[in-house]
């Protein structure tokens, strides 16, 4: 089997298997799985709403998927994308509010920098803790997620909320910080759909991550650290530096979710905005086989599901949009347990041998 087909085959099996298990669950609660799945996936292809919203939902997932990917390639598990994107989104809004009077030519780059640098900073913390003290990045990123959420919620509630506003959100950012929605330059595409330039930035990041990891010395060293740390160290690579670098890049990528959310969508920081983007990013990276192209495909799938969830909620009797999370969980379980399928196939082969 050619390499590409093999790379595609396994994720495909995992997705199909997850849909079968999900279908059984839907059947058990008394709905028709085919109807539910048509609602879930069919709506994603309509123009302009289905496609527009799917691409919009895919944007943060591409960023977080890439973030998890870069960590993985260095042998690190960044469960902290959720915290990194919260910190970054708040920092983006802070710059957009504080320097609201600046010209767009300065304000937009400043906001971008805020998102990238604050994400990188929050991501680098567990990197430093691992490099310096050897403490496990999984635990530290989990802990830092909660700290990040509490921290930005504090700043929103006590310092940046418009007095009297019952919603936990900051005041709005300056007009100059807004980035264009697709409606501005795509004919026939309504501006109410929040798909914006951040989507193109996400695609650009896929290319950049590919170039960074597979075409630069830094990327090579990160991958060497990921695939065999002791050999890398023997070869003169400083593992500690690579760990911090990979976590910072990972955090920066997660942080760019703030650009989509704050500069292209809500134009303010809205507390609790993330629909588990950081955790879904894990699913995206794994299903995408830790490759930028795979990340795009997986992000599109999960985004389509997320958009379709609304229709399932509205038009089916028993099934709710929670089916999306259920499918996601099952997909990751199947992707993680690759050996399960090999075992399944192996058993069939040996059974056939027995019969023969």
């Amino acid at each position: 089997m050619p390499k590409l087909a093999r790379e595609l085959l396994f994720p495909l099996i995992a997705v199909v298997a997850a849909f079968i298990v999900g279908g059984i669950l839907i059947l058990l609660v008394g709905d028709n799985p085919f109807v539910a799945y048509r609602l879930l996936l069919g709506s994603a292809l309509s123009w302009p709403d289905g496609i527009g919203y799917t691409l919009f939902h895919a944007t943060p997932l591409i960023f977080t998927g890439l973030a998890v990917l870069v960590g993985f390639r260095c042998g690190l598990f960044n469960i902290g994308a959720e915290g990194q994107l919260y910190i970054a989104a708040f920092a983006t809004a802070w710059v957009g509010i504080t320097f609201a009077h600046l010209t767009p030519w300065l304000l937009v780059p400043f906001c971008f920098l805020a998102a990238i640098l604050s994400g990188a900073f929050w991501g680098a913390i567990p990197g430093v803790l691992k490099a310096r003290f050897g403490s496990h990045e999984v635990i530290n990123t989990i802990m830092l997620n909660f700290i990040a959420v509490a921290l930005v919620s504090y700043f929103t509630q006590y310092h940046y909320k418009v007095p009297g506003d019952p919603i936990m959100e900051t005041s709005t950012i300056g007009q100059g910080a807004h980035i264009a929605r697709f409606g501005k330059f795509v004919p026939g595409f309504p501006e109410r759909i929040p798909l914006n330039l951040a989507f193109l930035l996400a695609l650009l990041c896929c290319v950049l991550v590919y170039v960074f990891l597979w075409r630069t010395k830094w990327g090579y060293e990160i991958r060497a650290t990921g695939s065999n740390p002791s050999a890398a160290e023997y070869g003169g690579i400083s593992i500690r530096t690579q760990i911090v670098l990979a976590m910072a890049v990972s955090g920066a990528l997660a942080g760019m979710v703030g650009i989509n959310e704050v500069l292209g969508y809500r134009y303010r920081y809205y507390d609790g905005f993330s629909d588990n983007y950081g955790f879904t990013g894990i699913a995206v990276a794994l299903l995408g086989r830790n490759h930028p192209v795979g990340v795009i495909l997986a992000a599109l799938l999960f985004a389509a599901l997320q958009h379709g969830g609304i229709y399932v909620d509205g038009f089916s009797e028993h099934v709710t949009k929670d089916i999306v999370q259920v499918l996601q969980g099952i997909i990751i379980l199947f992707v993680a347990a690759e050996a399960f399928f090999k075992w399944l196939v192996g058993r069939r082969v040996s059974l056939q041998r027995l019969r023969a």
């Binding site: 598990f77 469960i79 802990m143 099934v319 259920v326 050996a339």
Partner: protein
């Protein structure tokens, strides 16, 4: 200052710490056997939802009255066991990455309770209210006694029984344990399954003890606080209990003390800073700033038996 440490604060510390203690001690069995358990949150959610749903059904549909919370409690433990069985199968038999599988269980358990409550109760993620007199006993004294007995029992199992010795050696040095004739995978299955039962129990206590229904994502990160307590308690039962009490206390303070303490500037101490305490402490202790907290040596590494 004296008013702060009232009986009611102590009582609410015990109440809030209980689900943490149960989940954290569950995590202890799993991690001591060498299997990372970031899925405590998902297992607690499974226990909480199942317990509330079954208690409600037993109460209203089957008319079981006072017995219904106990049926619910049992069901919650079984739900934790069931989820743990899936996790164990993936991690131990199929050598799946333990962190990935744990994350998958957590995501799955955000969805499943909502999915099922939408189907069975036509609600958006919560179960119907259970009558107050059909809940678990809530007297802090009874709970405190139950928890102390449990911790003592677990301490005895971990340190004084052959099973405990095998558990610890499997987590520290699976090769040596294997060479000594211990079945590494059997010990790990037991560790993970016990963790599921205890985390399910902790979740059940949350929905049919502290509360009277299941609400969407009601654990709100308690599974991770339990994990934090386990690390802060250095993977030891008594220290873990103390860590849970400390974290339960911070939660009790953040609920009861709003507006009581003031900063020098006259502002309230923001509740967010009290909420951060367990997480910050965990990072600090894991980095070795306050004593060292060293995980079991083989934690997170699937065991490959040598052929």
């Amino acid at each position: 200052m004296r008013d702060i440490f009232t009986i009611s604060l102590i009582a609410s510390t015990i109440r809030l710490a209980t689900p943490l203690v149960l989940a954290a001690l569950g995590g202890l069995f799993s991690e001591r056997s060498g299997v990372i358990n970031i899925a405590l949150e998902g297992k607690m959610l499974a226990g909480a939802f199942t317990a509330a749903a079954v208690t409600y059904a037993a109460d209203t549909r089957l008319g079981m009255g006072n017995a219904s919370p106990w049926v619910g409690l049992l069901a919650g433990m079984l739900a934790g066991l069931f989820i743990a069985a899936i996790y164990a199968l993936g991690c131990i038999k199929f050598k799946a990455n333990q962190v990935v599988s744990g994350a998958a269980i957590n995501i799955l358990m955000i969805g499943i309770p909502g999915f099922l409550s939408g189907a069975f109760f036509l609600s958006s993620g919560s179960t119907p209210q259970i009558p107050k007199d059909h809940l678990l006993p809530q007297s802090p004294v009874i709970i405190a006694i139950a928890v102390i007995v449990l911790v003592a029992g677990i301490w005895y199992i971990v340190y004084k029984t052959p099973f405990g010795l095998r558990l610890r050696s499997t987590g520290e040095n699976p090769e040596a344990a294997d060479a000594a004739g211990v079945s590494v995978s059997r010990i790990r299955y037991s560790g993970v399954l016990i963790a599921g039962v205890l985390a399910g129990l902790g979740g059940a206590y949350l929905s049919i003890g502290q509360s009277s229904l299941f609400t969407r994502n009601m654990t709100a990160g308690r599974g991770f606080i339990a994990l934090a307590a386990l690390i802060f308690g250095k993977w030891r039962p008594v220290q873990t209990l103390l860590a849970c009490l400390l974290f339960g206390f911070t939660e009790a303070v953040s609920i009861q003390m709003q507006g009581v303490f003031k900063l020098p500037s006259g502002e309230d101490i923001p509740v967010q800073f009290i909420q951060m305490v367990p997480y910050v402490l965990t990072i600090v202790v894991l980095a070795g700033f306050i004593g060292s907290s060293r995980p079991p040596r083989a934690l997170g590494i699937p065991y490959e038996k040598e052929k």
